[in-house]
Amino acid sequence: MQQTAFIGQAATRRRLLGGALMAGGALAVPGLVRGQVLGTPSLVPMRLSPDQLVDMKCCLRPLRAAGPNLGTESVGGKLVVHNYGHGGSGWSLSWGSAEVAVGKALASLPRSVAVVGCGIIGLTSAVVAQRYGLDVTIYARDQIARTRSFRASGSYTPGSRIALVEPAGPQFPDLWEQMARHSWRMFRTMLGLPGEPVRFGDSYAVSDAPIERRTWPADPAITESFATAGLPRQNSEFAHLDSRIADIVPQAVPLPPGENPFGMPYATRSSQMHFNFPAYAAILLDEFFGRGGKFVNRVFHRPGELADLPEDVVIHATGYAARDFWGDRTVIPVRGQTGWLVPQPGVNYSLRYRNVSALSKGDGIVIMNNNPDLGDMLGVGDSMELPNRAPIEEAMATLAAIFARSAGAAA
């Protein structure tokens, strides 16, 4: 067989019933995950050479200290329902958050609503409002493909940089759980649709040492906090809520040696839900326009301008921009960046090793390099929204070495 080596190939070949199939049949075509009957799963290795890097994106997560703003207020006679400040969880909480915001809008019995902002939060809010029978106009500077939402990485991470424990208060975890569960249910209604807007993939973590969940006890030497500094100062200030939905979200399981496709001593596997941005946005936009929605390209300069809109109810979803537009200084920038490789359709898994990860989706392989010692603090307070190439190339090289090692171990 002259094709690209499959990771875990040797072991699989030994175990495969009817080895003749391997000789030249469809299963041996590179680019397809090989069928496998028990034993070590064989994976198509990711192609991680520098020529595959076709884009780099940088983005600011809108971490709001108290969690997303879902409050209401009156501006020039309009009811404004806020829906902004979703940190590193905007995609993941989009349906649940829209349900809460639209519910508050509906309570005032409008016929139509304006949505300001067309990122994942604004667009989802608009579609949810339409599903309840309202006429909706979106007003925004940019449509979703040009927003920060398209510069995320795209997995179901509802607890990522979503709030700080203290300012969020004791009620927030229940609201978060409600939004996370509702979103999860809605995403599942999008599985298997053409273009695969939502899909599950295997998610591997590999390590040289046994893999343990890292915890962040409060460091008493750090005396400042959000309350005194306006910014969180350590990881323990962040809300960590994921365990509340561990009953529905697949958790990592350690892989025994026979099931570990990588040439690394320790590995875990879980199933991760991810979002293909172009396919997902196309489906939402089709539904929005199909239901008669209108899009108006418009920039608002001051909250008072909302009073000029013809609609009586406004859902405000400007994301990080709300920090300036609404003067909400509790919205904290958390910088993050991703490298994007040419999509590899035969690869449907993600791999993480220490600080670096590669996530294969329909719209590309997403590379990230996150210093593990910083945890949630990485990028906090940093609003420099330009990508930096070196850490991405470094991540690619680190992961490429793991694939080389795994291929060697399998041979």
Partner: protein
């Protein structure tokens, strides 16, 4: 075209520009030379150091970052220059918002006006939000 019809066309064009332009005339729009070429030149220096890395040497923008010409006019024209001045003062440069002095921000606004086809003149653009509230950003409009 006679001089009279020419005037009429110009007047109609003004009406066509909408209430923004009409308002601009009554309150003093940028069409009448409200910043100096020196201010714009000073603005270009501030821009090169503080803004160009993100918005581009030609203000062309990039994936992450909006351009400061073209659709920029649609976003900001017809409104008091104070809005633009306040936004730049508060929110930019994005990695260090609010870090520039009022004069520098006025120079940057002068540069933005110049880059978008607004003519310079003899009067200085004030570095003061209240004064700028009375000056409207006139769109340069279609070449008449």
């Amino acid at each position: 075209m006679s001089a009279r019809t020419g005037q009429l066309v110009a007047a109609l064009a003004l009406v066509a520009l909408g209430t923004g332009a009409a308002l601009a005339q009554s309150r003093g729009g940028t069409g009448t030379g409200r910043y100096t070429a020196e201010q714009a030149a000073a603005g270009a220096q501030v821009y090169a150091i503080n803004c160009a890395m993100c918005h581009g040497a030609r203000m062309e923008g990039r994936g992450e970052i909006p351009p400061l010409t073209g659709r920029f006019v649609a976003n900001w024209a017809g409104r008091p220059v104070a809005d633009l001045f306040a936004y730049v003062s508060r929110a930019m440069p994005q990695h260090a918002p609010g870090s520039l002095a009022p004069e520098q921000n006025a120079h940057l606004v002068a540069l933005l006006l110049q880059a978008n086809g607004v003519p310079a003149g003899a009067r200085e653009l004030p570095a003061d939000e209240a004064a700028l509230q009375r000056i409207t950003f006139d769109p340069p409009g279609p070449a008449l």
